[in-house]
């Protein structure tokens, strides 16, 4: 008698080069949370997609509930009782929660969709699994965590027995993670099964009954949640010991580089998304901006980067007011911008690694408007080496790279300077989202290195650990306002910062 879901010798090779899965065996027992962990590029997502019917393996076989299982599509997987919740949601923003959930299996009445019944069914379902949602709201108005609940309920509406969650916590705030975990435990208590793809070890240790560790497409370890330790899992994932928490030095602030005064930005509906925010970032310090996602981080980032025009207040780079300046002008004054949404604003996903790398420096390396390709290629090669960007080749489209390598490529492009370039301020938002431990370490070290060299760094992040580990000062955004500026480098605790983020109160005492 085999396991509930058995995978044997799964092989998957992408485009004949990258071996994403190399003979992977996986046994998932019924009614348990089974975590699959590994660094980015270890093959976790590929494994999830194979089980979810999104990707067909080149070799190997699967059995589900004792029956041979080889889904040709997600639809087949649903029919067998398996559904996958992707990192990028497959929802329809203009439709309501109820419509999104019932779509494809709608209750009907008199030739129309019976929306009253759909709303009732969805309400009952969300109640049953402790995932509260208003079925009548439009998905575009929901937070990321709520959208994820819609995805999970969509699977439950189809009565699946096994749910695959692909990096579900990557987009969630700490509070939302706890809500998600409550939902997951509820599912398991109803004898459903969850495969949990993850790379944050604290979360894995908290929720998982069983753990399978992947490295470079192979299974390198199996543990139960009870007998695994963080250090051991890190060693298995990375293949070597790395320091999990690294001590960092203080910055020594110099003159003001970035000055933000009463910055106000209105959203599409005319509501203030950013309301009179003021702060400064000095040379040689990292200022972290913490906050629960959706409290104005994106608006701050875009306004500083020059992608939206503020409706009030001012932004100064050095002595120059750049509130309405173009991104090019800001760049000339020394601002480098690494956006949170890498694929939308950080790179051109379909263009090659080479083209993306030279997007900022091509002006210096052309003769009469014609690019000096040979010279540029050498420049790009040394740039990729310095920033540890691993790409199949200079001509590969950027969207074939892993998230970590894309991020490093963008950093390389932004931080590489040509003679005569100014590099004064680094504006970086959610730099480690969806990136593995080693990549995060690399990026963090890089930021500290640039700070020590005298750069002013503004780090906008919803990852508390990241903000606490790096910042010399920590600002907290709450509903578009900067409600606190706390001391960093260990002088503010995680709990204190968390309370501040949730309640929008500056003093730890008042937060209780």
């Amino acid at each position: 008698m085999g396991a509930y879901l058995e995978c044997r010798n799964l092989e998957k090779t992408y485009q004949g080069t990258l071996r994403a899965l190399q003979g992977v065996d996986l046994d998932v027992e019924k009614g348990r949370v089974h975590a699959v962990i590994g660094e980015n590029g270890a093959g976790k997502s590929t494994l999830a997609k194979v089980i979810g019917g999104v990707v067909a393996p080149n070799a190997g076989e699967m059995r589900f509930k004792g029956e041979p299982y080889s889904p040709g599509s997600p639809r087949d997987a649903h029919a067998a009782g398996i559904a996958m919740v992707h990192q990028h949601f497959a929802l329809f923003p203009s439709l309501t929660v109820a419509e999104n959930i019932v779509l494809g299996d709608e209750p009907t009445r008199l030739g129309g969709v019976d929306s009253a019944r759909a709303v009732e069914q969805v309400r009952a379902l969300s109640h049953e699994y402790g995932m509260p949602l208003d079925p009548r709201r439009r998905v575009r108005d929901l937070s990321v965590g709520e959208q994820q609940r819609v995805e999970i309920l969509k699977a439950l509406y189809r009565n699946v027995d096994l749910l695959i969650l692909d990096e579900p916590t990557a987009v969630l705030t700490p509070v939302e993670v706890q809500k998600l975990f409550k939902g997951v435990l509820r599912l398991v208590s109803e004898n459903r099964t969850v495969i949990f793809i993850a790379h944050k070890l604290e979360e894995v240790l908290e929720i998982a009954d069983d753990i399978t560790v992947l490295r470079a497409g192979k299974v390198v370890g199996r543990r139960t949640g009870a007998d695994a330790t963080k250090a051991e899992l890190v060693r298995l994932m990375v293949g070597e010991d790395i320091a999990v928490d690294r001590q960092r030095r203080f910055g020594s602030p110099g003159p003001e580089r970035l000055v933000v005064r009463d910055l106000t930005v209105h959203d599409a509906q005319g509501r203030p998304a950013l309301d009179g925010v003021s702060f400064t970032v000095c040379a040689g310090e990292i200022v972290g901006i913490a906050g629960v996602e959706g409290n104005g981080q994106l608006d701050l980032e875009l306004a500083l980067g020059g992608l939206v025009e503020p409706s009030g207040g001012s932004v100064l780079l050095g002595d120059e007011d750049v509130s309405t300046a173009t991104p090019a002008r800001r760049r000339a004054l020394g601002l480098r911008y690494v956006p949170a949404d890498r694929m939308q604003w950080g790179c051109a996903p379909k263009a090659s690694v080479f083209e993306n790398a030279i997007m900022q420096c091509h002006r210096h390396s052309s003769t009469a408007g014609v690019l000096r390709r040979k010279r540029l290629r050498n420049d790009v090669k040394s740039m990729l080496k310095r920033f540890d960007v691993r790409a199949p080749g200079l001509g590969a489209p950027v969207d074939t790279l892993s998230g970590g390598n894309i991020q490093k490529l963008i950093l390389a492009r932004e931080l590489t300077t040509s003679p005569g370039d100014a590099l004064e301020v680094i504006l970086i938002s959610s730099p480690s989202r969806g990136i593995d431990i080693r990549g995060v370490e690399f990026i963090h070290d890089l930021l500290v290195q640039y700070r020590d060299a005298g750069c002013a760094v503004l780090l906008i992040s919803t990852d508390l650990d990241e903000v606490l580990a790096l910042s010399d000062r920590i600002g907290v955004l709450f509903r578009g306002s900067l409600v606190a500026m706390l001391p960093g480098q260990g002088r503010t605790g995680k709990a204190e910062l968390g309370m501040c983020m949730l309640q929008g109160k500056g003093e730890a005492g008042a937060a209780a």
Binding site: A90, P93, L103, G104, G112, A268, L302
Partner: protein, 306 residues
């Protein structure tokens, strides 16, 4: 003579309603295809095809029912061909659409010459034309009398506003249609037959365009080369300005119908205005509406989130 008094009379409003009908039918069709994620560039050609087939069907059989049916079938069939090239063969939608329009214009002109021996027109002397139906009681109500005295297709067009609104926003097909148009990849992932739904949307818009063509040619009693006069494009614009809703499309269509009606009326009441300017009026209004609409949208959405 008071031009204004003359302009805003019952006859004018009756004309406006008549001018609105084809634009409205086309706009409804364009809205359905747009909701399915297909930009219906071929409307102009579908309209011409329907206008021609309507005259041919009526002329050959002497039956208006056959005429209207053949107009709808002909346009529906051409829409299917357009969909096949654009969706199945994955042709560029603009090129396929423009080719469809060019083909329809040329094919109808040629066929009219083959059949009638006259250049660019087709008319059957004994063929019936669409009758104007008076609505009892309504025709005697002051100010509302202009609502009476229209063809069956004029009335049908307004009934279709409600039917299309129901189908798109309340029916199961409509829900799936909107899902497919919004995110085809996600729709495919949950097992919706994306291609088939898009085919259906294009063919429905073909049927509606056929009806619009029949209204044009069968009230006139003949087919004239290029009698569509850009209404396919105006219909497309009306659906866009109407913000993808049936009611919005209807309001925009009335605006464009009114432009045409007023232009026609001014030709008679203000003969000293240059005719070219009057003929250009509907297109000018279309252009202004489109510019105003896109300006308001880009302002609302912000440049980056469009």
């Amino acid at each position: 003579m008071n031009v204004l008094a003359e302009v805003f009379n019952a006859q004018l409003w009756s004309d406006v309603l008549r001018m609105t009908t084809p634009i409205l039918l086309l706009a409804l069709g364009a809205m359905i295809t747009d909701r399915a994620g297909v930009l219906n560039i071929a409307l102009e050609g579908l309209l011409v095809f329907g206008a021609f087939a309507g005259v041919l069907g009526t002329g050959l059989t002497g039956s208006l029912v056959v005429g209207v049916a053949s107009a709808m079938l002909a346009s529906g069939a051409l829409a299917l061909v357009f969909a096949w090239f654009a969706l199945y063969l994955r042709g560029n939608i603009f090129i396929v659409g423009l080719a469809t329009n060019a083909f329809a214009a040329a094919a109808t002109t040629y066929a009219a010459w083959l059949i009638s021996g006259r250049e660019g027109s087709l008319r059957y002397a004994q063929a019936p034309t669409l009758a104007k139906l008076e609505v009892p009681l309504l025709k005697d109500v002051p100010f509302l009398a202009f609502l009476s005295g229209h063809t069956i297709i004029d009335y049908a067009a307004w009934a279709l506003v409600i039917i299309v609104a129901f189908v798109v926003f309340r029916s199961r097909f409509g829900l799936r249609l909107r899902a497919v148009g919004e995110r085809p990849v996600a729709a495919r992932a949950i097992g919706l037959p994306v291609r088939r739904i898009q085919y259906a949307a294009v063919v429905i818009s073909g049927l509606l365009a056929g009806l619009a063509g029949a209204q044009l040619s069968l009230t006139l009693g003949g087919f004239v080369q290029n009698m569509s006069g850009g209404r396919g494009w105006i219909g497309l614009v009306a659906s866009i300005v109407g913000n993808g809703t049936a009611l919005g499309s209807a309001v925009a269509s009335v605006l464009f119908g009114a432009a045409e009606g007023v232009a026609n009326s001014l030709q008679i009441t203000a003969p000293n205005l240059p005719a070219q300017l009057l003929f250009a009026l509907p297109y000018l209004i279309t252009l202004v509406a489109l510019v105003a609409y896109s300006a308001s949208r880009s302002r609302k959405k912000g440049v980056l989130e469009a």
